[in-house]
Each structure stands twice: as C-alpha cells, then as structure tokens.
C-alpha cells in the first residue's frame, strides 16, 4: 500500500489524479463510467462570468498522438455553473477544482469571489491563457506583469481557505519568470502546462482544418514539453506546488510528471479516447510507485532532481 495522499498548499487530497480542465466538462458525463469521488479532484472546464457559445466548427483535428482544439471556452456562465454543475459535483462527493477564465483582471476577481469553500470549492485554477482585452488581445500567461496582476486579483478576491493555482502556457520564452511572477502575486501553486498553439492545413481543401485557424495542441505529443516545464519550474521554485498536466495516458506517464516535480497529475485528452482513464492511471501510478519502493507519493515528487550519478 502506497500513501497516495497529496497536498495542494495545505489542502490534502486522497490521491493526486485529477481530470484536466476542458476534458471532463463538470464531471457529470464521466460519472457514467467512473466514480468521480474516487479521483483526487475533478477540474472543471473553464468557467466565465457570462454564457459563451464558443467558436465555429470544425473545432477539432486529430494529429499524431495528439489533437488540436479551438472550442473557444463554450460554457454556461458562472450562475448556471454554480446552480447545476457545482451542486452535482458536491452531491457526488467529488472535490471540485474550479477553472476560471476572464477577459479582464476584474472579471477574474469577480469569478473568484463567487467560489468560496462553503460552496464546495476545493481549489481555483486560473486559466490565464486567454487574451487580455485591456491589452490589445495579448495573452495574460505570456507576460509576467499581466499574469501577476490576474493572480493578485484572484488571490485577494478568493476565500482565504481556497488555494489558487495559475495554469500557465508553455508558449513563452521564459516560463520560470511567469511562474515566479504568479507566485509572488500570491498564487498558492501552478498548473503546468496548458495546450501549445498549433495548426493543421487540410491537403484536400488546402485550407486550415479548424474554423478558428489555430488551436491548442494536447495529448501524448506534448508530454515531453510538460515534463520539461515542470522540471524547470520545480527546480527554480521548489516550494511552489505544481499540478502537472500534458499528455498523460498511463500510470508511468503520470509518474514521469511526478518525478519531475508535480504534486498532482491531471489526465486530459486521454479521457476522450478512454473515459475511465483517470481511474486506470491512478491504479497504475500506485502500482508503479510500489514497484519502485515508494511508501508515499510525496516522496516521489521531484525525485528525479535528487537522483545523482
């Protein structure tokens, strides 16, 4: 038996495996296949203040060991989310990590204010890979100052009992500087990584496949990027807890992220092919830790940094 519990800035979870934002809606559909309460947490699809229709279709393109998506944050808005989705997660006994997305610093703050621990929120994950309308469409996560401003607003608006994690984009020149800015602004932890910006052109129509032209690349194809990002940030900021995400399909994939420095691991695109993947990965990770002689998951977090020779 391996002690699989993990801690997100003081909030203890029974195990480190979660769904990744945007890959499990708000958990209800997956509940047909797995016990959502058996996961460390369910990370919801990013929620915004108002309902959003999302982008035109086609929204998806399969790529080698990956996929591109340009969903455009389709969602019901915070009111319907609280009334229907969060209530369902709480009643199902799941721990809810609520992902939020906004177009301005104020919008992020307003969302965080609506998500207290008393509503059943285990943590807030701040998706800052959205364009900042106040700054000519620049993406918050690509600028340390803008990223820090969002995290400061969320941290001050959020319930002090709710940890706040910043979800960062790997599409930056200096990831560590963005991560450090978020931590300095009050983020309790980091989620690494969001999708990479990609694109596909259809050789038959000779046009972009996605209606949105570009999309986010996810799946096993990006796992080495996730491992690198987690490694770099954990090395620079060893005290900041990291939720690792990017291309995890098996327990050994999850272990790779843990060894690089992730205290929790999110399973995303793998769910589309295998709705029971999060529970399977949890079992495989536990077995892999036991095989390697780890009595506790936390002993394996960042272990690759400590191996010498």
């Amino acid at each position: 038996m391996v002690d699989m519990s993990t801690s997100l800035s003081g909030t203890v979870l029974p195990n480190p495996i979660m769904t990744a934002s945007g890959c499990a809606a708000a958990g209800r559909e997956l509940g047909q296949f797995i016990e959502v309460a058996a996961l460390g947490a369910v990370v919801t699809k990013s929620i915004m203040l108002a309902p959003r229709a999302g982008r035109a279709t086609p929204r998806m393109a399969e790529t080698p060991s990956g996929m591109l998506n340009s969903i455009g944050l389709q969602g019901p808005g915070i009111d319907a989310f609280l009334e229907r989705d969060l209530r369902w997660l709480v009643e199902a006994g799941a721990r809810a990590v609520v992902s939020i997305a906004g177009s301005s610093v104020a919008e992020y703050g307003a969302l965080a204010e609506r998500l207290p621990a008393s509503a059943g929120v285990t943590a807030i994950e701040v998706n800052i890979s959205c364009p900042n309308v106040e700054s000519r469409g620049e993406v918050f996560a690509c600028d340390p100052v803008a990223a820090g401003a969002v995290l400061a607003a969320v941290r001050s608006a959020a319930d002090p009992a709710v940890p706040v994690f910043a979800k960062l984009s790997p599409d930056v020149t200096d990831l560590v500087s963005v991560a450090a800015a978020c931590a300095e602004a009050g983020a309790d932890g980091l989620t690494l990584i969001n999708t990479l910006l990609g694109m596909a052109v259809d050789p038959v129509s000779m046009r972009p496949v996605l209606a949105g032209t570009t999309g986010g690349l996810s799946g096993p194809a990006i796992r080495p990027v996730a491992v690198r990002a987690i490694w770099q940030v954990h090395r620079a900021l060893p005290a900041v807890p990291i939720m690792g995400v990017g291309g995890v399909r098996t327990g050994l994939d999850a272990l790779e992220l843990v060894l690089a420095g992730a205290a929790a691991v999110q399973v995303g695109t793998a769910i589309f092919g295998d709705p029971s993947a999060p529970v399977r990965v949890l079992g495989e990770l536990e077995a892999a830790l036991a095989e390697r002689g780890f009595g506790k998951l936390t002993d394996a977090v960042g272990f690759a940094h400590r191996v010498t020779g």
Binding site: Q32, K45, A53, A101, P131, V139, S169, S218, P220, A270
Partner: protein, 295 residues
C-alpha cells in the same frame, strides 16, 4: 441489460464487405439495450495508438450480445478496424446519444417515411422494425451516388411497405437526389413524420421538404466527434431549444437525432455560430477569445 453507456472490451466476431461498405460484428461481454439512432464509439489502433480519439458509428443492429456496425474504411482509424480479425479486441462505448422517437399519442400507428443517404440508412432498419411493431406503415427512400453505394435496399423491401431508390448517376432507381422524390412519397403515403440519416445537405433538404409538407422531421446528424460522451464540446451545432433560445448543442448527447425544424440549417451547414445564439461573440457580456489554451 442496461441502457446506460458501458465501456467494455468487445471481441470481433466477423468483418466483411457489404456492398461498397464493411460490416463488423462485435461480441459484448456486458449486454446493452439500444434504441435506433443511438451510436457506438470505438477506440482504434490499440492502447498505445497514435490515434487518440474514438470513431463513432450509428448502431446497425444489436442481436443479443452482438453489436453490428456498418462503416466505410476512409481513414487510418477505419482501415485499422477493417483489418481486425475474429477474436481480436476492440474497446467499445455504447449505447450513446438520443435516438429517434416513434410517433406517440394520436399519431401512434401513423405512416412514417425513412430517408437514408448511402450507409446512413443503417440505423433505419431497426427503426422500421420498431415502427412496424407499433402499427406504423413504413416507407423507405434510399439514395446514394451510385447503385454500389446504396445500403440495405433488399432489407428495406423486407421491412418497408414501399421503397423508393435514387442515385446521382441513375445506375439504380430514379436519377437524382432523395429530395427530388420525397415530396411525392410524402403525399402518396400520408406520412406526417420523416426520419432521416445521411449527409448534412441531405438532412437539410429533408427537413425543409417535411416542413413544407406539414410533416415533422427527425434527423440524425453527422458531426465530427472527439469523445462521443459529451465532455469535449467538439460536435456542436446550433439548435433552437423549447424555450426558443439557440444554443451550440452537443450532437453526441442531445443528438444525434434532432427535430429537423429546430436545427439552424444555414449555420449548421457552414459551422458558424448564429449571432443570436446564447453567448455568441459580440453578444452582451461576451468578448472575443482566441483559441490558445482554450479547450
């Protein structure tokens, strides 16, 4: 037996050609129920496959523990499926989606016309059987590009009270599209309900012609899906709800069968988001968002 979707490893019984298409039979360890119009999502390429997304197919038949699907080997995933041999394993999730709804109440037992394009006709034979058992006369209209690309004409003759065939090239039945013959079939049979499955352009024409004839249409749409279970938000199309509000609606959960009059066809055909859809770009409180990191 369950009507909830089940994920399970099925065993291939047989794979073989049926006209221009292929038919695969799969033995399901856990028996499932289904209603015509529902679909199955199959994983392709094995556990380490570079193809991550399930392939979704409407259910042709379920006989006991046997699931049967008709497909066309058009891409790497369906070619992998075509190469399965008896005894090999395929990961199946089924039954999924909202099925066709037989007429109820005063309309129960009324004649129904079923329209299929190519192998889109596959779910219509089970539907015909169900409708017949409820007392409805059933009339088929089957169309395809060529005679070889029709599916199930003989089966339609067995289940149907009439069968009308069209081909683009005139190699079988009358030359033209199903939409060329549908008004006459509706008039001759007195059908008040049309159930259709096939390409989007055909479904749009069927829905428009049904409305013009004072009938209702139920259409099973073909949208690209990534998950098939309602979590990815890929397979959406604009549909008007009972409250009159247009929403980008998941075809995997709320469809694939929709009321033909509720689909916003011009936008569904182009993939656009109607300007008056709930949360549409430019609407109140909604601002543009790029695709970056926005699953």
């Amino acid at each position: 037996m369950t009507d909830s979707p089940v994920q399970q490893l099925a065993e291939v019984i047989d794979v073989g050609p049926v006209g221009a298409y292929l038919e695969i039979g799969l033995r399901l360890p856990v028996a499932i129920g289904f209603a015509p119009g529902q679909f199955a999502a199959l994983a392709v390429g094995g556990p380490r496959s570079s193809m991550l997304l399930r392939r979704c197919f409407s259910i042709y038949q379920i006989n006991g523990d046997q699931l049967r699907i008709v497909f066309a080997p058009q891409g790497a995933g369906t070619r992998w499926l075509a190469a399965r041999r008896p005894g090999s394993a395929v990961d199946v999730v089924a039954p999924l989606g909202t099925p066709f709804r037989p007429p109820v109440g005063a309309a129960a037992g009324a004649p129904v016309t079923l329209v299929g394009g190519g192998y889109g006709s596959a779910p219509l034979f089970g539907l015909a059987s169900a409708l017949r058992s409820l007392g409805s006369p059933v009339h088929f209209v089957l169309g395809a590009a060529t005679a070889g690309r029709l599916f199930g004409v003989a089966e339609a003759r067995r289940f149907g009270d009439s069968v009308t065939v069209t081909t683009d090239d005139g190699s079988a039945g009358s030359q033209g599209l199903v939409s060329d013959v549908l008004p006459a079939v509706l008039a001759a049979t007195g059908s008040r309900l049309v159930c259709a499955c096939g390409p989007m352009a055909m479904l749009r024409a069927v829905a428009d012609l049904a409305t013009a004839a004072g009938a209702t249409a139920q259409v099973a749409v073909e949208e690209a899906m990534a998950c098939g279970i309602g979590v990815c938000m890929t397979c959406v199309l604009p549909v008007v709800g009972v409250d009159g509000v247009t929403r980008m609606t998941r075809s995997c959960v709320d469809g694939p069968v929709f009321d033909g009059a509720a689909v916003r066809w011009p936008e569904a055909g182009t993939g656009a988001v109607p300007g008056d859809a709930l949360g549409a770009p430019g609407g109140a409180g909604v601002l543009g968002v790029g695709a970056m990191g926005a699953p």
